[in-house]
Symmetry: C3
Subunit: 217 residues, 3 copies
């Protein structure tokens, strides 16, 4: 139940984010907006379930995920001019989706008897996979590859989740703690424009203007 509620909240947050991305790609129509909402919201979970061998994917076989994703897409299609004003809100939603999916992705992997290191990776994939598919579909370099602290907060959230689960202390407090840790690190990274170290970078604080939440015109 906890798992389902967290998952549906993350799905809605990512559907808003994906649909807003679609409204920024000038040529897209309502099909494009709804497609990007669904891909962003369900893509990470589908990748996770394929990699965990949990088919058909839960995010697909359970109609509630689909309904929530379509609802997020429709809300954005109707209200996107208003939502654009709330850039910070969108960043917060995206960070919330990332955090919730990192936690639920890691726990799903453990349920399917995937080893601990791969379960952590699956948590990250669940968190960043939908946004990566979204970026590939609209021909953008996937944010996760270069910008901001994005995969690293997901790694933190999924790592705490797997550690608690293996330590026998997983439950509502641990799940929320892991999600809050991921969310906090993501928001700090966004606020201070922190980046992960790169091979061509002299320092780690060069700002990027291409983060998904700041790409508004």
């Amino acid at each position: 139940m906890l798992h389902l509620v967290l998952d549906l909240l993350g799905t809605f947050a990512f559907a808003l984010n994906g649909a807003l991305t679609a409204t920024r790609v000038a040529r897209l129509d309502i099909v494009g907006v709804l497609t990007l909402a669904m891909v962003t919201a369900l893509g990470g979970g589908v990748l996770r379930d394929v990699l965990a061998g949990a088919l058909p994917p839960a995010t697909f076989s359970d109609w509630r995920y689909l309904a929530v994703a379509v609802a997020g897409g429709m809300v954005t299609f109707l209200l996107w001019r208003h939502l654009e004003r709330y850039r910070t809100l969108i960043t917060v939603f995206d960070a919330a989706g990332l955090s919730l999916f990192a936690v639920t992705g890691a726990t799903t992997a453990l349920e399917y008897h995937i080893g601990a290191p791969q379960a952590v990776l699956l948590g990250v994939v669940t968190g960043v996979g939908g946004g990566t598919l979204r970026d590939v579909l609209v021909l953008r370099l996937p944010t996760v590859l270069y910008a901001d602290l994005y995969a690293i907060p997901a790694l933190l959230g999924a790592g705490i989740t797997v550690a608690c689960e293996r330590g026998g202390v997983y439950g509502v407090p641990a799940a929320l703690g892991a999600a809050v840790a991921c969310f906090t690190l993501r928001m700090i990274g966004d606020h201070y424009r922190l980046n992960a170290p790169g091979p061509h970078r002299a320092d780690g604080t060069t700002g990027s203007d291409d983060s998904p939440s700041d790409a508004a015109p």
Copy 2:
């Protein structure tokens, strides 16, 4: 049997379409032409089977699909200069593939006990998935996201199929009716250059010159 024949016809139509796309991307060689033929022809069915949990994918485990896709690719590689003249024919083939796959995709989903809304979506994914993978591989914005009525006819065909199946009246006439409805709407949309409504559009009839069937030089 009906299912197989419709599926193989759709596979051949999409293989021609994918291979023709490849001949338009100047640098591609015969491997590229055959790869795009196979990806376009088999990609939608593979996505459908992964999402329905029907592995290994039928379009892959049955050699006839592969043979038909490769045959379509080879025919195009040898005759593409002649095929280019028949733009309308290619549009018709593409619409036929879309219609046949929307119907067979939805029925496959129902056979695997997928719920009705997701079965409709799987029909659409089967119809548009191969073309979307094709576009991503050659770095084009996927047609389905922005141009013409493309996903909506597939939605109509898959919707009629699922409704008939649930209403207990599915059979050859219903399958052909659903495919014809999809095909007709697609051809009307192509002829009048109808587009789905978009967030930045004043009206719904702005023409697009990027549809897969009209991208010829």
Copy 3:
């Protein structure tokens, strides 16, 4: 055991190759480098396992693949300026990965009772799939579609493997022979800049400067 050793060697070779590609895309950070290392090294095997219905994917459920891929990525991240000097070495590593994966991909497919033609195709997919996903993620036209002899050596290696397996003479010598045949043809193609025939090409020897091993600045 033979299978595992060959597979891990191929994984390491492809991880180096993927990470080196990442260091050439200026904006990528350490997350991008490790992601491309993992995608290039594990992507082909994951595609093969999904298409063969062998879930969860072996390259994912066995932690050793992941460890080898991450190790290859970290080595490259730390030493990439030195590795750049050894262009030929990277070409050799890439050809080795291609050869090993073509052989292990085809044998995996046969173990899962996939038919012979599809097993050959799965060998090719295992060999070229990771590099194709890598190229799509960084918005490059996939090398396999246009450049050099790349898929054709993989087809040769996978074809020999399946023929030997079906002829009842598969074993260490046959596996090594198939890999060496693929490797040799790939290196000859690279050295003489051979290309597969293309629809727009007058001859088959036009050089390409976009092969993955020669894209260094």
